[in-house]
């Protein structure tokens, strides 16, 4: 889809996903790495646990569908090469500290002077300006500053993050959307612009709009293991089974009530609740609980009944019955179970990418959506550092083999 367009990807480990997504959508993405390879190649886990720049699974996860060149952006000889590439590119993505690239003569204003149509995307923790723009940051800091962290974890322990860092992925995916919106504008105006993505604002999406609690004059939601406290209502989402856990949305109201009724019918058939309980008003119960018409102890009683039923079942049986009966129950899967999922296999989700440098193929998460006319293709496995130096410097910029050798000798590329 985006095959006519070129992306220069200058991002650090914060922003790598953005270029990969544009690459998935067809753009020619050139990862510009520091000579010797980007620092992100040092992040584990590693293939066979051998730390090596070409074996970082962190790198693999966020760099397919990119080509790689190496270039010393600080050197006097390196900058003109970048300028030449900028003149031939449609997007530039970077995730340095605000002002860092500008200090090296590579800020938006400098590069827009070379290519006014350039869409220049900056991914930063807090945005380009403001009182926290210069803050030191990490995944955990972003989640703390943006709201998701306080909502996650057990109520008797500190707030908890997801073990796979999430903060900058929200920002990077947001940045891909932002880049394409600016691109649509460029189709009309012929002009690029500076896209300023704040990771803090991006992760606020994960508060499910409860970040508006204060202006709504509403009470705060509070974290609870496997659920959440909404006012006095303690919603339990995680339930133990015979052999692990399932998630059950055991709630009421117009949308969820019919599902809950079907669960209670099943429980009734197996003798886990009486007829009066089965026949409660599952549509109206939510309002009744919220207004005090039904005491919250009734909700606790119902949750106890459900718990006593669920513990007698296996994850597989619950999943099967959820599909057959139309219940809001899903297994809590391990990563291994996800990788072995029948659903994903049936949809041909996984994609084998050949790594000739290691003499093996590996199974990658597949296209994020299925396009009927322009399917996402995986054209490049994650590149080794500088793998496409010749192709880019010789074929695209017209540098001679001697010139390339000289630049290599001086450590510029």
């Amino acid at each position: 889809m985006l095959s006519p367009y070129r992306v220069l990807d200058l991002t650090t480990e914060r922003g790598l996903l953005c270029g990969q997504l544009l690459g998935d959508l067809g753009a020619d993405v050139i990862k510009v790495e520091t000579p010797g390879g980007d620092a992100a190649r040092r992040l584990g886990p590693f293939y066979q646990d051998v730390p090596h720049p070409d074996r970082s699974l962190f790198w693999w996860a966020y760099n397919r569908n990119k080509r790689s060149i190496t270039l010393d952006l600080s050197s006097l000889e390196g900058q003109p090469l970048l300028h030449q590439l900028v003149a031939k590119s449609d997007f530039l993505i970077e995730s340095d500290t605000p002002g860092a690239l500008a200090a090296r003569g590579l800020g938006y204003d400098e590069l827009a002077a070379i290519n006014p149509a350039l869409v220049y995307v900056s991914i930063t923790p807090f945005g380009q300006t403001g009182p926290k723009a210069g803050y030191a940051d990490s995944d955990l800091i972003i989640l703390a500053a943006g709201g998701p962290l306080v909502l996650t974890g057990d109520d008797d322990r500190p707030p908890l993050r997801v073990s796979v860092p999430q903060g900058y992925l929200h920002a990077s995916a947001e940045a891909a959307v932002a880049a394409l919106i600016a691109h649509h504008e460029r189709q009309r105006s012929g002009l690029g612009q500076h896209v300023d993505v704040s990771a803090q604002q991006a992760v606020m999406q994960a508060t499910q709009s409860f970040c508006l609690a204060a202006p709504c004059n509403e009470s705060e939601v509070e974290r609870m293991s496997g659920g959440a406290k909404v006012g006095d209502l303690v919603v339990q989402l995680v339930w133990p089974t015979q052999d692990g856990y399932v998630a059950i949305l055991f709630l009421f109201g117009p949308a969820i009530g019919p599902f809950t009724r079907r669960l209670m019918e099943w429980m009734h058939a197996e003798g886990f609740c009486d007829t009066a309980t089965r026949d409660k008003d599952w549509i109206g119960l939510l309002t009744q609980l919220l207004t005090g018409q039904e005491p919250l102890s009734e909700y606790d009683r119902l949750k106890r009944l459900v718990g006593e039923f669920i513990i007698t079942k296996s994850k597989a049986e619950l999943t099967r019955e959820a599909l057959a009966r139309g219940l809001l129950i899903a297994p809590i899967t391990t990563i291994g179970e996800v990788a072995d999922s029948e659903q994903l296999a049936e949809r041909d989700y996984w994609h084998l990418l050949d790594h000739p440098e290691l003499g093996r193929s590996f199974r990658y998460p597949g296209p994020f959506a299925k396009f009927s006319r322009t399917p996402i293709t995986y054209r490049h496995r994650p590149p080794t550092a500088g793998e496409h130096n010749d192709a880019v410097y010789r074929d695209e910029l017209g540098l001679s083999a001697e010139k390339i050798a000289t630049l290599q000798g001086r450590g510029v590329i």
């Binding site: 889809m1 886990p45 693999w60 943006g146 998701p148 997801v162 612009q193 709504c216 998630a247 990563i335």
Partner: protein
């Protein structure tokens, strides 16, 4: 607003509901797309039943969530199952560049409104269907919400203390991840159509999109055959790294020490310079090996201090730290204020309501939230009269027939 918005002239007929889908079209509306949200008064959008509510009072026009994810859109209430409703919908398809829907698979087909039908009406139509598991496969009809998709895609098992049951990320996690993929899919398909005149059908599984946020863990399994060990708040590349108790009830500071310089600076800030010389903490490897001890030392220092004071002094020394902001803190956050993140708008029922702004800023053509989310049926006349050119008599007749509900 002095500029033409980037997506001005893009027409979207939006049948998506609850959180994931509408969050995607909200972004497109922010940047100028005309989005017509079709709703049913008989089968209310679940988002209208989810808080936060204005003044804590539940009600279909009071949901801050609904108002937030639908700001900037037009609202049409329509009985799609009626013949007249179907005709109106097809007229909107003729007007549209993009049709989006997030029902369970089969719903559009059972309504006789699958892509092949719509394409006959509008040959270059882009249609996107988004649901939990995708349109095909043995679990295609698995119904549910984003919290179930988060469970089934592995996020819950990766969000827990090693000695406890899975805590899970807050609520419906894939609903916050997948909207970006929805929006970029639409934008890329629009670009393709702009260049080639070709529309297409897009089948988005929210699980398949969200798995791109678990890449390293999935590869660790498919490549190394290893389930990632659970880390709580720990990180293999940083120590100390965690969330530490501050003074007050449920007040915490997040801290991430990334370099040796930061570690020495932290020891200095804590006025314990001897720690930096202690061989148990002298290198990242040794600190990772003694994290319990390290965390206890840091907690002794943090627990008597205000979280904001800790953030301030640590950041003054270039150490990554932040108050674990509570929801009410966000509204007062000076950085978010600087970014204009909270946007007040006049509302016919509530005086003023507040929604979130775009999560990014375009320097030349920033977002503009042109109207609040629709109250039920608010824009029926604008959609049918102004967009479709129906006469006032025809609209009145449709109203009388009960089609517009």
């Amino acid at each position: 607003m002095a500029h033409a918005l980037p997506l001005a002239g893009v027409h979207i007929v939006d049948l998506m509901w609850v959180i994931a889908g509408p969050s995607a079209t909200r972004v497109l509306a922010d940047y100028g797309a005309t989005v017509v949200r079709i709703e049913s008064t008989r089968h209310l959008d679940t988002a209208r039943t989810i808080g936060p509510f204005q003044d804590g009072s539940p009600g279909p026009e009071n949901s801050g969530l609904f108002q937030n994810v639908n700001a900037g859109k037009l609202g049409l209430t329509l009985d799609m199952a009626s013949d007249a409703g179907r005709e109106i919908f097809l007229d909107l398809v003729r007007w549209a560049d993009v049709v989006t829907e997030s029902f369970s698979p089969q719903v559009m087909r059972s309504l006789g409104l699958a892509y092949d039908t719509l394409q006959q009406v509008k040959p270059d139509l882009i249609m996107l269907s988004t649901c939990l598991m995708g349109q095909t496969g043995p679990m295609a009809n698995f119904a549910g919400f984003g919290n179930l998709a988060a469970a089934i895609s592995g996020f819950f098992s990766l969000t827990r203390w090693p000695d406890r049951a899975p805590a899970g990320p807050f609520s419906a996690y894939t609903d916050y991840v997948s909207p970006r993929f929805t929006a970029m899919a639409i934008l890329a398909a629009l670009d393709h159509r702009h260049r080639t005149g070709e529309g297409q059908y897009i089948d988005q599984s929210q699980v398949e999109s969200a798995l791109h946020f678990l890449g390293p863990a999935l590869l660790d399994y498919t490549v190394n055959d290893r389930e990632q060990t659970l880390a709580g708040n720990r990180d293999p590349h940083m120590a100390p790294h965690g969330v530490y108790a501050a003074a007050g009830d449920d007040r915490w500071v997040a801290l991430a020490v990334q370099t040796e310089e930061q570690w020495k600076a932290l020891c200095g800030v804590m006025q314990q310079p001897e720690l930096a010389r202690n061989p148990r903490f002298a290198t990242l490897t040794s600190r990772l090996a003694h994290q319990d001890e390290l965390d206890a030392i840091i907690t002794d220092w943090t627990r008597t201090r205000e979280a904001l004071d800790l953030e301030t002094i640590l950041q003054e020394h270039d150490i990554a730290a932040s108050v674990v902001q509570r929801l009410y803190d966000l509204y007062d956050d000076p950085q978010l204020q600087h970014r204009g993140h909270f946007v007040p708008r006049e509302h016919p029922l509530h005086g003023t309501i507040t929604v979130e702004n775009s999560r990014f800023i375009l320097s030349r053509t920033p977002a503009w939230i042109g109207r609040t989310a629709p109250t039920l049926g608010r824009d029926n006349h604008e959609v049918l009269g102004t967009i479709l050119g129906y006469s006032a008599e025809r609209i009145a007749a449709l109203e009388a027939q009960g089609v517009l509900q």
